[in-house]
Every structure is written in C-alpha cells, then in structure tokens.
C-alpha cells in the first residue's frame, strides 16, 4: 500500500512540476505585450491552468503530505476569501473599465468605444451637418471633408465598426433626435449586411444611445453589464490597461477616428495577406451567410419612415468588394454552392430597393459591383483588404455618387419648403 502511495506521490509530483513549467512556457511563448487580445487570452489561459495546477497541488499536498489535522470549519474565513477575490475582479472591471462600458474613465478604454466618441463628437458639432453617413467599417474611410469639397454639403461620418442593421436604426434615431432643429437633409447609408443582432447592439451601445435602443434590448444591457463586472476576460484586459499605464506605453488603436467621423485603419499586412485572411475566415463560417432575415425589412422600413418624418432623403449605396477576393470567394468558398446560395441576397435586395425607390420619392439606391464602375482601383491603392476600400477609392466613389447626393439634397430642401419646415 505504501509502495503504491509512494508511486502515486512521485507521479503526481512529476505531473505537477511538468504542468507548471509547461504552463509558464506556454504563457511566455504566447505572451505578446503589444496586442491586447493576445495578452488577454494568454493571461486567461494562465489563470485557467493555474486553477488546475492549484487543484493538483492541493491533491498532492493533502493526500500525501498533510492528512487534514485541522478540524475546524473555517466558514467565515472562506467567505472572506470569496468576497475578497470577487471584489478585486468587480472593482478592477468597473474602475479600470477596459471596455469603456461603465461610467468611470480613469483609464483610457482598451477596447476603444468608437460609438462613444462619435456620439460625443456629433453632439459637439457647432452646426448640424446636412449629410450624415451611416454604415459599417466599410464606410468609415469616407472622408466628410472630401464629400463637402465635392458637393458643398456639410457632412459627418457616423459609420462604426462591427455593426448590425438594428444599430443603423439606433444611430439614425440618435442623429435625428440630436439635430431636431436642423435635421440632416441626406442620410447616406452603406449597404448593410442585413444581419440583425440586438444583443450586440445593446452590448456595444454607449450610454448616449440608450434612449434610442428598443426596450427589450435596453433591459438586457443592465443585466449584461452587471454580470460582466465578474467577467475574467475583462479582468485580464484591465490588467493589460494597468501594465500600459505602468510602462507608460501608448495604445495601438485599430483605427484612428477624426472629429468629423473619418476613420483610417492601421494596416500591418499586405492586400494579398488580408484577402487570404478573409477567405480563411469565410471558410470557417457556414456557406450561405448571405441571407436576408425577416427582421431586417421592418427596420429598413422604419429607417425610411424616419427620414420621411424629417423630410430627409436616403441614399442606399453598395461599394464593391475587391475583385480578387470575389474571385477567390467564388472559387474556394462557394465552389460547391448552388446559384441560389451564391446570390440570394442580391436578387431579394434589388427587388426590395426597386420597390422602395418606386414607393418613396426621397429614397435613392446606387449599386457598384466593381471598382471599374466608378473608376476605382483594384490593387493596394484602392483596397486595404477584401472588403474595405481605401480613402482613394472612397473619394472616387464619392465623385460618382455626387450627382445623386446633390439631387437628394435638393429634393429634401424642396420637400421642406413645401411643408414649411426649417
């Protein structure tokens, strides 16, 4: 029996030591101080493995070395330890606030909440813009100064990254509500992906968006953010924030966002690498993600009616994807897809817009399926990756869109005059 116990003790001790060094090695190996996500993940894995190691240590210690001589039941001490660890996590998440979702702003948010910045910048504008761009990261690199230069219309770019159609509506409500006295005359909308994700919209929403979010999502925000106070991922991000403060480093932002809403991404890979990355991502996703969910129709219709109420015009436009990326998608991702799977959205989309344009005089729809359609570039000059155009291509796209923008602007003015609106 003793011999057996001795063998177990040896094996467990070796296992413990091996796992310990392996954990440290893996952490050091994968540790990347420059990248928040990698740092946070490494730290998360380190904590996870440390819990296991601690458990193993307790097994080794109490099964082989300490035969449980203490007999008291230290409930109060245990509760204290639970509360202390709990408080450290909650307090770090709240006060360091690495995701910028709680009120304190002692530290700069690690995951910059561009929405917050844009909401603030928009309300701080001296004069309400006549044109507001709403869209995803695809529209972020449209320079409002260039739009104004080409059309003479004051412009603000309210595009945000990682957005969904329901957030477009939230932003539109916000924009019209914040500029009640002089609402924008044209809303330029980057063709949305038609995905609807109220949870994501609620998760990312800055406090200023709350009144414009649907009631159901709003109630989730409170619960989610309270529960997130105990989020260990957020805690590891908080540690990342602290170490930046300690070492006086500067944040490496993904985008630089200017006060007019214009955004420039920080690119660290070539176009070819970026396209390859995008294709790999797509290969991992389900084949047919090009669908048009039922919930998106009423959202689009509400966007149109909101514009109508404010006598504004809407221009829906589609910018093209990079041609090599489209080709690769068709060859590698959609190789076995049926025609229906490849482009169901295209048909539904054009039918929907046709109907929308026919029914509403102030709705415009312009589609560009290839950079050649507006004299754009297909190489590095025109694209950062498979779907994001550079400022140069966006300027060329604005050149092509200018007549439509000016027409929409004039229609809005006429409409306002006929309705005696400001």
């Amino acid at each position: 029996m003793d011999k057996n116990n001795q063998l177990k003790k040896t094996i467990f001790s070796i296992g413990l030591l091996f796992s310990f060094f392996l954990t440290i090695y893996v952490f050091v190996d994968s540790f990347e101080i420059k990248d928040a996500a990698i740092f946070s993940n490494s730290l998360f894995e380190l904590i996870s493995n440390s819990i296991l190691l601690l458990c193993l240590f307790l097994i080794v210690y109490y099964q082989f070395f300490n035969k449980g001589k203490e007999r008291n039941l230290p409930n109060k001490t245990i509760i204290m330890s639970v509360l202390i660890v709990f408080s450290i996590i909650v307090a770090s998440n709240f006060f360091i606030n690495p995701r910028g979702i709680y009120p304190p702003s002692i530290f700069p948010a690690l995951v910059t909440n561009y929405r917050n910045k844009k909401a603030n910048d928009f309300t701080n504008l001296k004069k309400s813009p006549d044109l507001v761009i709403i869209g995803s990261s695809r529209a972020l690199s449209i320079n409002p100064d260039y739009v104004e230069e080409q059309t003479g219309i004051s412009t603000y770019n309210f595009a945000v990254t990682g957005t969904y159609l329901d957030e477009y509506l939230v932003i539109m409500r916000y924009v019209f509500d914040q500029s009640k006295l002089d609402p924008p005359k044209v809303i330029l909308i980057d063709r949305p992906g038609f995905w609807v994700n109220p949870d994501s919209t609620a998760d990312r929403a800055p406090l200023k968006f709350f009144p414009y979010i649907d009631e159901e999502s709003r109630s989730k925000i409170f619960i989610n953010r309270t529960v997130d106070l105990t989020n260990l991922h957020q805690f590891t991000e908080a540690i990342y924030s602290i170490q930046f403060l300690l070492f006086n480093r500067e944040y490496q932002e993904t985008w630089t966002i200017y006060n007019n809403g214009f955004g420039l991404p920080h690119i660290d890979e070539s176009l070819g690498e970026a396209i390859e990355g995008s294709i790999s991502d797509r290969l991992e996703r389900k084949l047919c993600d090009n669908f048009f969910p039922d919930e998106s129709m009423p959202i689009l219709e509400e966007m149109v009616s909101l514009a109508k109420e404010n006598a504004s015009s809407i221009i829906f436009y589609t910018s093209p994807a990079q041609p090599d990326y489209v080709k690769a998608l068709n060859e590698r991702v959609y190789q076995n897809a049926t025609e229906g799977e490849k482009s169901p959205c295209g048909q539904i989309l054009s039918d929907f817009y046709r109907e929308l344009v026919e029914k509403n005089s102030q709705v415009h729809a312009v589609f560009f399926s290839h950079p050649n359609d507006f004299g754009g570039y297909s190489d590095e000059r025109g694209f950062y990756d498979g779907s994001h155009m550079t400022e140069i291509n966006n300027n060329l796209l604005i050149n092509a869109l200018s007549p439509e923008i000016i027409q929409a602007y004039q229609e809005s003015i006429q409409l306002r005059e006929s309705q005696n609106l400001p």
Binding site: S19, N49, I51, L56, Q63, G68, L73, N75, F86
Partner: protein, 463 residues
C-alpha cells in the same frame, strides 16, 4: 436555466439559498420554498413542461396511494415513449412498411424533449415499484412527492434517487444551516465546476482540433480520441453531478453520488458500480433482477448462465436505448451487455487472468472502445475506420501531439492523472477540514465563475 451560468450561480442560487435559510423558518415553508424554486428553475426550460411534470407526479402519487401501480407505470412510460421515442418509432415503422402510407396516422412530430423527463420518470417508476413491493409505504403528502420529483438540482440530469433516500428528507427539512453542509457544498460545487469548465471544456477543445478526423485517422489517433471522449464525458457528467450534490447540500439535502473513479474498474461489472451509479442501480433493481428471475422461473432453474446472459443483454440494450432513440446508443448498450457476458463467462470458466491486471487492462480497453461507439456510432467503425487504418497505419505520437494546442497539455495531463489515480471524486475532499484548503477552494470558485462566458450545457441534460 443552466446550472453552469452566471444567472444561476450569481443570481438564482444565492437568492434562493438566502430566502430558504433566512426568510423561511419552518420545515413546511421551506418545503414550499424548494417547490417554488424548483418550478421557477424548470419553467426556464419551458413552462408548459411544468404542467406535464405536475400531471405525471400527481398521477404517480395517486396511483401509488390507490394501488394502481401498473396504471401509473404505464402512464409514465407512455409519456416517456411519446416525447423521446415517437419520431424514432415512426421512422422505423416507415422503413419496415415502406409501401404503405402511414404518415397521416403516424406523423413525425419533432417534439422537443422536456427537461429531465427520462430522469424524473425513472424516479416515478422506482417509487411505484418500491411501494408495490412494500419496500416502503406511499407518502400521504403530495407536496413532498412533487418536490421530490421536481427538486431543481437533480431535475436536469439526475442523480436518479429513490423516494426513501431523498424524498423522506423533504418531510423534515433542517432548521439550521450546518457548517458541515456549507463546506461540503463549497467543495462539491467548486470541483464540479472545475471538472466541467476547465477539464471537460479543455478536452472538448482538443477533440475539436484536427488530430482525429472520424474515419481518417491512424490507429493511435483512434484510441487517443476514444480515451479523450471517455474522459470528456466523465468530467462533464461527474462535474454536473458534483454541482448537483453541492447544491443539494446548500439546502440540507443529501443526494446520492453517481461516480466512483470508473477508470479504476476491475472488470466490466465493477465499471457499472462506478459509472452513472444511480442509473445502473435503477436498471439492476427494476430491470435486470426481475428479468433474471423471470427466466429462471420459466426455465425452472435450468440454463442459469443463459438467464444471466439474456438479462445482461436486455438490460444493457435498454440502458443504451434510455440514452436516446439512436442506433449508436443501442449498439453501445448491446456492446456493454456482451462485455459483461464475456466477463461472466470468463469467471465461470475460471480463467487465470480473471481478477489480475490483465482483467483490468481488458476492462479498460473495452470501456475506452465503447466511448467511440457512444459518440461516433457503428457505421464509422465498420466501414471508414478499416479504410483509414489501411492508409494511415499506426500513426505517430509526434504528429498526434503536434495537433494539440500547447496550453491544453496541462488539462490533458491533469485529467489523466486524477482519473487513473482515484482522486477524481469530490467526496474524497470533504474530509479535508483545513482553513487553507477552504480559502483556496473559495478563491478558485470565484475565479471560475468569473471565467464563465456563455452558459455551458452538460452532455447528459440532453438525455
């Protein structure tokens, strides 16, 4: 609501525990409290199923009181078959009678499985049979019986306990929250979460890599994946059971354990004393024993061996079928029946290796092989695996290890160490009454709750 979600662990559980001990003072109010908590918990899985649970509990309670045992058993079985096996039965029927259009009479219903139906119906049947066989008297208190049926820590996936052990505890609920129970709850819940959240999820991540693609791997990859599948299921299910037992302790209720280091089984029969103990005990008492007796009686004491073999096969095939209306579970069950019979035959023949390390090794190989049947099914084993082995041969350790993400190695090492050394059960740690131990375990619990993202589903909840 999932046992491993922040809503449950940070909201429902602390709140219900606080109400139970601080606001509900008498055993009767505590009983009402447990019942209400259980139905709030259950209604998260679909309030309409609560009605089914109440109806079946009422029927079982009444049937036991009136002596209509078979009626009660039949009603419970009909509900189980209807929800769990209807579509499977219709598909089978159509396959056999493919010329006849039965679809208007027997449509495929795609019914959702009410949470825990297989578990609480087995509790009901056990209750009816125990009362019928005068193991104990039927209860007069429907509230107690309903709480026993719906008790929220065990409703999702057991353990399947009998009324005498668990139900009786609801009659006289404790007034004081004992330190011992609080300590036990902490140990059980923490170890349960660690098993599921860190170990089972870690193994699941390894299994999700390309190190073994079904039907394309080498012999080595096949056996490693089978072992990992077994470890995953063990950590997942025993993690769930530990959490359920821990929650039971929080309310002063002691539930029976479900596991006893199954990888240390000395033989196939011993394995079923260590794996999903409450289910195997149920089948042993209510299926195996009556069937054996029936065969012995019918054959007038002759063919004793045959009676045991037949009872093993029938019982284990039913165990497989209990897991789901799926051929892979049926074959898994039948395999275990055959494995038990093989060992019973070896014992009768008095082979020298019986009871030695060879016996243990054969048992372990058989068990590991059976996990592959459980997860993958027969088709892969029959057709694709021989082809894959022909192409890939034995395989290499180096290739195999290179597919495992480095940060998951400690998970792998520790899961193997504790599973094969007999240190995997929470019950072994409640004896340690140390301040340091308690403090560390408490801190670990908080860290793990903080690690939780989306609620995690346990494998056996689907059954």
């Amino acid at each position: 609501m999932n046992l491993l979600s922040k809503v449950f662990l940070l909201g429902f559980l602390p709140l219900s525990t606080f109400i139970y001990w601080k606001l509900l003072k008498t055993p009767r109010t505590k009983l009402w409290g447990l019942l209400i908590f259980s139905f709030i918990f259950y209604s998260f899985a679909g309030w309409q199923y609560s009605l089914l649970l109440i109806a079946l509990s009422l029927l079982t309670f009444g049937a036991a009181k009136q002596g209509w045992y078979w009626l009660g058993i039949l009603a419970n079985l009909i509900a189980l078959i209807f929800f769990k096996y209807w579509d499977f039965g219709v598909v089978m029927l159509r396959r056999f009678l493919n010329d006849v259009d039965w679809s208007h009479l027997f449509p495929i219903l795609h019914l959702a499985l009410p949470l825990g139906i297989s578990f609480y119906i087995f509790k009901h049947i056990a209750y009816l049979l125990d009362v019928k066989n005068q193991r104990y008297l039927p209860t007069d208190n429907f509230l107690v019986f309903l709480t026993f049926s719906a008790f929220f820590p065990q409703i999702s996936a057991g353990p399947i306990s009998n009324f005498k052990d668990t139900g009786q505890q609801f009659i006289d609920l404790p007034n004081k929250f004992e330190n011992k129970n609080a300590y036990n709850a902490l140990i059980y819940i923490t170890l349960g979460i660690a098993k599921k959240l860190i170990i089972a999820q870690g193994i699941s991540s390894i299994l999700a890599t390309d190190f073994y693609l079904p039907g394309q791997g080498s012999i080595l990859a096949f056996w490693t994946s089978s072992l990992l599948q077994g470890l995953y299921l063990y950590m997942d299910f025993s993690g769930y059971t530990d959490i359920a037992l821990g929650i039971g302790y929080l309310f002063g209720i002691k539930l029976p354990g479900n596991f006893d280091n199954p990888f240390l089984a000395k033989n196939p029969s011993d394995f079923w004393n260590r794996w999903h103990i409450s289910l195997s005990l149920w089948f042993r008492v209510y299926i195996f024993a009556p069937i054996s007796r029936y065969f012995l009686k019918t054959w007038k004491g002759r063919f004793r061996e045959l009676a045991q073999y037949a009872a093993n096969w029938i019982t284990m095939t039913l165990v497989g079928l209990w897991h789901g209306a799926n051929s892979q579970y049926l074959i898994w069950g039948f395999f275990h029946g055959s494995f038990l019979n093989f060992h019973a035959w070896a014992v009768r023949k008095n082979f020298k290796w019986v009871g030695t390390w060879i016996d243990k090794t054969i048992t372990l190989i058989g068990i590991i092989f059976s996990w592959h049947l459980f997860f993958t099914g027969w088709k892969e084993l029959r057709i694709t695996i021989p082809e894959a082995f022909e192409i890939n041969g034995f395989g290499s350790f180096r290739n195999l290890l290179s597919e495992i993400p480095p940060h998951l190695f400690p998970v792998l090492i520790i899961s193997i160490l504790i599973s094969f050394s007999g240190f995997a059960e929470a019950i072994q740690y409640i004896k340690i009454r140390s301040k340091l131990f308690g403090v560390i375990i408490g801190a670990i619990l908080v860290l793990m709750i903080a690690m939780l993202g989306e609620p995690l589903n346990f494998n056996y909840v689907q059954f």
